[in-house]
Amino acid sequence: MSATGETSTQMALRDPDIRLMLQVREDHAGAFEQLVARYQHRLVSVMNHLIGNAEEAEDLAQEVFLRVYKARKKYRPRSKFSTWLFTIANNLALNHIRSRQRKPLVPLRTTRDSGPLGARPAEQLVHDPGTGPVQRIQKDELAQRIRDALDSLNERQRMAVVLNKFEDMGYAEIAEVMELSTKAVKSLLSRARMNLRAALEGYIHMDGAPTAASSHHHDDLDEVELADEEDRP
């Protein structure tokens, strides 16, 4: 029985992916292949956002599917299938990131004014997307800055951001995937967003003028990194 009191049959009736996973559990021919085909895009996309390397992202996504297969006999539907799948993905991705011992990239505030055209307001870059080489460079630079900002988050913040932003998961589901409390996820996402804002400070100016909040960013960044450490289970 799930936390909501539903039986696995009821859950399976509601979630077609649970039905499919139950078929995988019973070794139905073709069920696993169908499951891989159905989830590969989402999983590879999440891994790409987390790892930032297409090849590694595919390898990790495959590893997730293999773990799903290995664990099939123990599978008991307790929540949405995707939640279970992303829990496995979360554990694997976090282990991978930690094992790489990836160092945070160079703080963006030291480089935000660099580049051929210097820092520009997001308005100019985003809402006036030209097709010329200059605009292309600006867009590429912006994309790289955002990628760097995402990479500068610690692995748990990054995971929470990716699940929330790109998988449209609510706090409760992220909490389940990351095996945290909803309150901890709320705190994690709040800090992640403040870190992102600090890292992308040069791109969120409106009409070239800094927002009231931007003057606090540098202090905030140090503070939230410390506070986030305290939240670890």
Binding site: V36, V44, L66, Y171, R197, A212, A213
Partner: protein, 166 residues
């Protein structure tokens, strides 16, 4: 002299609430409270706006590449490669069990044969024949004697006097 920034009237919890509000996670009274703060305080409004904009910038990340066309096929190949050693292990276990049963069968055979040999009557050996030579040579006489007591009586000195002793 630089002017120190005015501290925001938000503690960590309130800021987390603000972010949760922007994420659509707050409802009812909690959401209304945040809305009121945003409407009343321009600094909180600016804070909310900058957090919202930072979040929206993530939309400009390039779309991650799609999985390769042969992703599913390669995943299944990896799975088969994983299963292969498992098949070998099962086969190995079967062979081991078969070997053990074979050994047990041979050991039982040997034990049975030895037991049979031990229990079944056998021809006397040379040593035993030598030991019982006299008895065998005189067997025909012994056969004529009806009982052991009679033989002992014959051995009595009073019956044949000294003639029996050379």
């Amino acid at each position: 002299m630089s002017q120190s920034p005015t501290p925001l009237p938000l503690n960590e919890q309130e800021r987390a609430d603000l972010v949760a509000y922007l994420d659509g996670e707050l409802t009812g009274e909690a959401a209304r409270e945040i809305e009121a703060k945003i409407n009343l305080d321009p600094r909180i409004r600016a804070e909310a706006e900058s957090l919202k904009r930072a979040w929206e910038l993530l939309d400009f990340l390039p779309k991650p590449p799609e999985p390769a066309a042969d992703f599913t096929e390669r995943t299944l190949e990896r799975l088969q490669a994983l299963q292969r050693p498992a098949t070998h292990q099962v086969l190995g276990r079967w062979l081991l069990a078969l070997g053990l049963w074979g050994l047990l069968l041979v050991a039982s055979g040997v034990a049975g044969y030895q037991g049979f040999r031990w229990l079944s009557p056998r021809e006397p050996g040379e040593k035993e024949l030598l030991r019982d030579l006299r008895l065998i040579e005189n067997k025909r006489y012994y056969d004529r004697i009806e009982s052991f007591e009679f033989l002992q009586q014959l051995d009595h000195p009073d019956l044949f006097g000294d003639e029996t002793n050379p």
